[in-house]
Amino acid sequence: MASKPRTLYEKIWADHVVERRDDGTCLIYIDRHLVHEVTSPQAFEGLRNSGRTVRRPDLTLAVPDHNLPTTARVDENGARLPIADPQSAGQLEALERNTAEFGIDYFGATAPEQGIVHVVGPEQGFTLPGMTLVCGDSHTAAHGALGALAFGIGTSEVEHVLATQTLLLSQSKTMEVRVEGSLGFGVSAKDVILAIIGRIGAGGGTGHVIEYTGDVIRGLSVEGRLTVSNMSIEGGARAGLIAPDQTTFDYIRGRPMAPQGDAWAWAVDYWKTLPSDPGAVYDRTVKLDASDIAPCVTWGNSPDDVVPITGVVPDPDSFADPAKRDAARRSLDYMGLAPGTAMQDIGIENIFIGSCTNSRIEDLRAAAAVLNGRRVADTVRQALIVPGSGLVKRQAEAEGLDRIFTEAGFEWREPGCSMCLAMNPDKVPAGERCASTSNRNFVGRQGPGARTHLLSPAMAAAAAVTGRLSDVRDLMGE
């Protein structure tokens, strides 16, 4: 008798069980661990205090990104520039000290490979299909784009993984999000995931791991898939997954940390066994039709506050759920918006193109296509492009994209998280609006009092040019 059809999630889970407990929770082996400066110092301190070591330094990779300034890091002579904020400098020093002490590979602040953890992992071939991967950051879900079971963990879990290379977990439910059809002109991976979150709600995926399926997902590049899987957490799911296929293998092949030679062929054979079996059952399935997806933008403080750019700010009274009505009222108050305002009438003073959601080369190319030969509107006070890694930055410079950006009036920065969470000096001033390619529009996320509108890189570029939220399709001649 053939064995029961299994989902991708169930296969990865089964291959990582070290021990199953009576209550059903499992000790799960962790294949890859990414570490950054903000959520790790207390974990290393914990190890030191209890005299423990790092079990598998070889499966661990560290890189600073969250609060590293994105201004120049070395002077004309190549000497490192100091970090002004003593606390940020302290976290960076702690990471340098901890990785040296515990023997962990480290891309330092001035290394060419430095970048946002979730950009660096896939780019280096550190992230591979069928693996379990964790990091003390909730957008670790991004790595699911390569078919890795990847999720964010807290600092105590970081310490647990460092010490034991395992985590005690209970199995999640599965949710299939199927997107079929073909995407319209000007509609990007970011619009797909915003539309999905708008549909399932910010808590819709709680307790589930989402697997994205359907021909729209299959047709996305790995970079587009990373954008989709990245925001699984905004839909409440701890992880997202996309089955590895030829697109994935072509992306990984030849990357510095990817398997080579015989190991490569062996790995690919294994990866081909991973996609969900025909007839595998998900606990829930949600279907979206790609032709219903327009370029999207958020209006409120929850990532499910999504409307098409052609839409208007909704009336809180139009929500049936009283809690949602209250939340919408609070959001409109914070965002300084009136119901019924056309989204395209909303003026924007800040533009941020970056974050682990949208800072890869394809994102920068999409923005450059809109900005080429154009200028940032006079009413825009701050326009930042922050590449996701040093390698993305160099690639963009090789393609001449940096000149397009600077000639348009953008600042071209060093890689890091930057204005995604405003831990470093990159902030949106209180009361001002930001068209942002990041992933969270929470109250104060981009700085105290900052008002965030989430959108795609092309849409952010369009807003930069017109000084208001705009339909990129109008600027791209269709």
């Binding site: 929770t25 000790l27 959520t39 207390q42 929470f442 104060g444």
Partner: protein, 203 residues
């Protein structure tokens, strides 16, 4: 970790829904390298408004927080749990929690109690004037008014909380099982192993 069997006292009767980790502890408080002292930054944006529940002397130092659904959504920052712990909160009652937050809370000895909305609404009423009691042994929340709400807890988490067990210590005791797993994977999926100290890795 200190053992927790019982949490009793006044409670912040808050009830707000979808409280994300940026509200619990804003990002600019995350630059610390220790676990202590974050209570000062807890709920900073809420406290900026006059008349907020956290600065009401009536509830100062309450060991219990009553919140709305989806508490602790957003980021994985454990600073949210540290901040709550630092302000003296030992238990949070809500209709639902984000998965990551409840895990982080548990690891810091903070009990997350899930109760239906109707029970939470009732407890908010009681909390305005009276104390609330949470018992892990019987898994019940009670009030001085004969209210009695039962809840469930993951058995492993309950045991760790009640005995103050260190989870890493428990797992390290499974060293043989972990080594056996590593040896098996070394044969079936050898590419998992990585050459550490890659030449291109520089500081």
């Amino acid at each position: 970790m200190d053992a927790v069997t019982h949490v009793e006292g006044r409670a912040y009767p808050w009830g707000a829904e979808n409280i994300d980790t940026d509200i619990i502890i804003p990002a600019h408080w995350l630059k610390t390298t220790t676990r202590e002292g974050l209570g000062k930054g807890a709920f900073e944006s809420v406290r900026a408004k006059p008349g907020n529940v956290f600065d009401d002397p009536e509830y100062a130092g309450s060991p219990i927080l009553i919140a709305g659904d989806n508490f602790g959504c957003g980021s994985s920052r454990e600073h949210a749990a540290w901040a709550l712990g630092d302000m003296g909160v030992k238990a949070v009652i809500a209709p639902g929690f984000s998965d990551i937050f409840s895990g982080n809370a548990f690891k810091n000895g903070i009990v997350t109690v899930v109760l239906p909305q109707a029970a939470v609404d009732r407890l908010i009423e009681v909390a305005k004037t009276d104390e609330i009691s949470i018992d892990l042994e019987t898994m019940t929340v009670t009030t001085p008014f004969q209210d009695r709400f039962t809840f469930t807890l993951d058995p492993f988490r309950r045991e760790c909380l009640m005995q103050g067990l260190d989870e890493i210590g428990i797992t390290l005791a499974k060293d043989t099982a972990i080594s056996n797993y590593e040896n098996a994977v070394g044969k079936s999926r050898p590419w998992i192993k990585r050459e550490s100290g890659n030449e291109s890795i520089t500081v």
